[in-house]
């Protein structure tokens, strides 16, 4: 490593440290913005250092400069536009799209490295090839898989699992082709072989995500995030750049942690989700209620009385709330209750939404102060003290059947909604959640069902509380 490159590497070490510090500051909402700014500053330093390196190398052609600068500006403009205009409900799609381009860029770096080494006739170093191959494999799978995931989230591709006969055989075939060709490359360096790996990996990515249902998206996005990080770290090995290695490892760690959290929160193994075919699309498929079951329905006025005279209310939001765009309505109702001195908090299940933590962002956007947003472990002991638990668009995560063995959701961590003194469930119909089973909570004598679309229900409840309390 020559002196000059050594100094640049030193800058990359600083950048890596700034990424770690930035992520560390993300451990509290109060410092998180500063964390993002620190990481951002690190990125600016890295880019400037790289440009200095490019100028110093003196080998970048005029065309090369144009290509890099125009490409970067174009990409920045697209990224900026997407980031500024995206709806918070569409965050998972955007994150997925960024996973796709990140993975794609990482794969391209390795493809180019291989192409360049080959054209120099010096041959390909054995170790380079391992990381090159891993980068290309993971990066390509991430690229196509994330595009499919984004398509499903956006509704361009149907959310329900797409399964056809022999799909697993096709997957197996693609995996064998990709890995087999990669293995062949170690003995015989060959560019066409690398292209076969790219194509097989791209196809595998598509096939991997297609059969996964909409409700499993939090896991899939987290997993693809971990993949992208790993691909970027591999690209770091290929071009021997520490900033890429550290940044990639950090993202890989983050994605893996979130994947595990999400899978645990759904009580399903990763293998089970990837092999898929279980989760349906959205959870609004109406199924006739079991004949002998007794549910009590409630009108807006009565529900308003319960809410207005409570001293502690816990709101339990689920994806149905976001789907109905009712988050602002909920926040409005909560504000009125709070003005009456009622203690209001929100119980957020880890998988309430389409990506980890999604519901928190949706509620924050509706101006709900973050101290009111409680995690499952924090809020569960509080249900016993709550006069009313108001469940909106959440289903399986409130089903007490999960505490008993012997059913589809046994062992799944749930919110202890049934411990509350009374429960109001806002729901369009008696339809089951994506686990496809009846929610025992609805048949609890303490529970009243308020059958309405979440957004309309919030408007009605707010109006009723207002007239009630003047």
């Amino acid at each position: 490593m020559s002196g000059f490159n050594g100094y640049i590497q030193l800058v990359y070490v600083l950048v890596a440290a700034m990424f770690v510090m930035g992520l560390h500051l993300m451990n509290s909402p109060a410092t998180a913005r500063r964390g993002n700014q620190v990481a951002q500053a690190g990125m600016v330093i890295a880019v400037v250092a790289t440009l200095i390196l490019l100028i110093h190398s003196g080998t970048v052609t005029a065309t090369g400069w144009v290509v890099i600068i125009v490409g970067s500006l174009l990409g920045s403009a697209v990224g900026l536009w997407a980031a500024r205009t995206v709806q918070m409900t569409a965050m998972p799609q955007l994150v997925s799209a960024f996973n796709a381009v990140g993975g794609g860029a990482a794969a391209l770096v390795a493809v180019y490295g291989y192409y360049e080494a080959e054209s120099r006739v010096t041959g390909v170093l054995g170790t380079t090839s391992v990381f090159t191959v891993l980068d290309v494999l993971i990066g390509s799978v991430t690229f196509s898989g994330s595009i499919i995931a984004a398509g499903k989230l956006q509704g361009v591709i149907p959310g329900q699992p797409i399964i056809f006969k022999g799909a697993r055989l096709v997957n197996l075939g693609l995996a064998v082709v990709a890995i087999g060709t990669a293995a062949y490359m170690f003995s015989t360096p060959s560019l066409p072989a690398l292209l076969i790996v790219v194509l097989a990996s791209l196809a595998f990515g598509v096939m991997m995500v297609l059969p996964i249902g909409g409700a499993d998206m939090p896991v899939v996005i987290s997993l693809l995030n971990a993949f992208t990080g790993t691909a970027v770290a591999m690209a770091g090995f290929v071009i021997q750049n520490w900033a890429l290695i550290v940044a990639g490892a950090l993202v890989g760690a983050s994605g893996s942690i979130l994947t595990k959290l999400m899978a645990d929160a759904m009580n399903r193994s990763l293998a089970n989700i990837i092999l898929g075919g279980f989760g349906t699309g959205d959870s609004a498929i109406a199924v006739e209620a079991a004949g002998d079951a007794q549910v009590r329905s409630i009108a807006a006025d009565d529900a308003a009385i319960q809410l207005a005279y409570a001293s502690k209310v816990i709101i339990v939001p689920g994806y149905g709330l976001a789907a109905a765009q009712a988050q602002h309505g909920v926040a409005e109702l909560a504000t009125i209750l709070e003005d009456r001195g009622i203690e209001v908090s929100y119980a957020i299940h880890p998988v309430a939404g389409r990506m980890p933590g999604h519901m928190n962002v949706l509620l924050a956007e509706a101006n709900v102060p973050y101290p009111q947003l409680k995690e499952m472990d924090e809020i569960n002991p509080e249900f016993a003290r709550a006069d009313v638990a108001l469940v909106i668009g959440a289903n399986d995560v409130t089903n007490p059947a999960a505490r008993r063995p012997g059913n589809d959701i046994s062992g799944m961590p749930i919110l202890d909604v049934d411990q509350a003194k009374s429960i109001i469930v806002v729901k369009r119909s008696m339809g089951t959640g994506y686990a496809g089973m009846e929610n025992e909570l609805y048949f609890d004598p303490k529970t009243s069902m308020f059958f309405a679309d979440a957004k309309k229900a919030m408007a009605q409840l707010t109006a009723a509380v207002k007239t009630l309390v003047g």
């Binding site: 909402p29 880019v47 290509v67 965050m91 996973n99 192409y115 102060p369």
Partner: protein
């Protein structure tokens, strides 16, 4: 195994462990911004994309460099901007309702608690 490779591997493993330690402490409330911030961080691949320029001297090189730059730049810029946008929404207190902005100092003064609340709100808004 070369020293360079060994160094790279050491850095990778240590960074993984640091990542697990640091990210394990992030509360669930911030998981979406976290994921979007890490998303922006993996945009560091822009460095790799731009470095293609050092040796790219033909059409293949240029095309790959171009696509990789577009992808990575979109990743970096979009990731940071959207993370910032999200984090700006996380407030400790709800902001004043539209309509009672600023112009009601007498109301704030009438009630010490509300006055403090208003002050905090104003501070957090100037911050954002």
């Amino acid at each position: 195994m070369s020293t360079a490779l060994l160094t790279d591997l050491t850095i990778f493993i240590l960074a993984l462990l640091v990542g697990i330690e640091v990210i394990g402490k992030v509360p669930a409330t911030l998981h979406t911004p976290l994921m979007s911030a890490t998303n922006a961080i993996h945009g560091i691949v822009l460095v790799g994309a731009v470095l293609i320029g050092v040796t790219a001297h033909n059409a293949v090189g240029y095309v790959i460099a171009f696509i990789a730059s577009v992808f990575a730049a979109a990743n970096v810029v979009g990731g940071y901007v959207v993370t910032g946008r999200m984090l700006k929404m996380f407030r400790r207190k709800s902001p004043p309702a539209p309509g009672q902005v600023e112009g009601q100092p007498e109301l704030a003064a009438a009630n010490g608690h509300k006055g403090l609340k208003g002050l905090v709100n104003r501070m957090s808004r100037t911050e954002s």
